[in-house]
């Protein structure tokens, strides 16, 4: 398991390659990359600052990955989340999940993203032509996480 919170950009391809290297039981790697879009909620976005709660962030991500590991048969997981100032097309987050079979890999990858969106202490502030604004959590994010309730 690799969990990293960093201002620096990441190489998604290298991370996926590292995740699957050396374990010939891996048959499936599902991954997700979240990117800064140039528009949000009807405004153009010039840049975005990601704030987090450093003492909690890693702990929250570890708990989410551990819960995914209880629910599905996983072989390895990488989660990288950036903080600081980002611009459109910049990478924000990578979640990559290795498993024997694709159903487990897909489900766990989407689960981790949905929980990260509602449980991990990150906040986005966007710079728009009308000034800076904090991004509001979307109702669909709460609903997406609620789908996984046991």
């Amino acid at each position: 398991m690799k969990i990293l919170v960093d201002e620096k950009d990441f190489d998604a391809g290298a991370e996926i390659a590292a995740l699957r290297a050396g374990n010939p039981h891996i048959g499936a790697v599902a991954s997700f990359v979240g990117l800064v879009r140039d528009t949000n909620a009807g405004s153009t976005v010039a840049s975005m600052t990601l704030e987090h709660y450093p003492a909690m962030t890693r702990r929250a991500l570890e708990a989410i990955v551990a819960e995914a590991g209880r629910r599905w048969a996983l072989l390895d997981v990488t989660v990288i989340h950036r903080v600081g100032e980002l611009r459109p097309s910049d990478q924000i987050v990578l979640v990559a999940v290795a498993s024997g079979h694709r159903a487990d890999a897909f489900a766990a990858c989407e689960f981790i993203m949905d929980y990260l969106k509602t449980q991990a202490p990150f906040w986005k502030k966007e710079q728009t032509p009308a000034g800076a604004r904090w991004v509001e959590q979307r109702a669909t994010d709460e609903q997406a996480a609620a789908r996984w309730a046991e």
């Binding site: 909690m56 509602t118 906040w123 986005k124 904090w134």
Partner: protein, 85 residues
């Protein structure tokens, strides 16, 4: 008892403070009681932490509900719903 209280994102900006030490009478052992003390400051505190407002609380870096216990020395964070990913 003494708590370390942290504020993040929009709440940090509105309240104008990122971190403070809050002294509570002994025996006040629930998140809800800390919030009552903060609201009693009035003004922006009463407004931003009103019961109907959408905020989250973590105790010692774990998400916590209003009934979660708090103890001397705990770190309590109050913040808006998260928006990472």
């Amino acid at each position: 008892m003494k708590l370390k209280v942290l504020y993040f994102a929009r709440l940090r900006e509105r309240l104008g403070v990122a971190e403070e030490a809050v002294e509570l009478p002994d025996g006040m052992g629930m998140v809800a009681m800390l919030l009552d003390v903060l609201r009693a400051r009035g003004g922006v505190w009463a407004e931003q932490l009103a019961a109907g407002k959408n905020f989250r609380v973590a105790v010692n870096q774990d998400m916590a509900g209003m009934e979660a216990p708090i103890e001397d020395g705990d770190e309590v964070a109050i913040f808006p719903p998260v928006t990472g990913g």
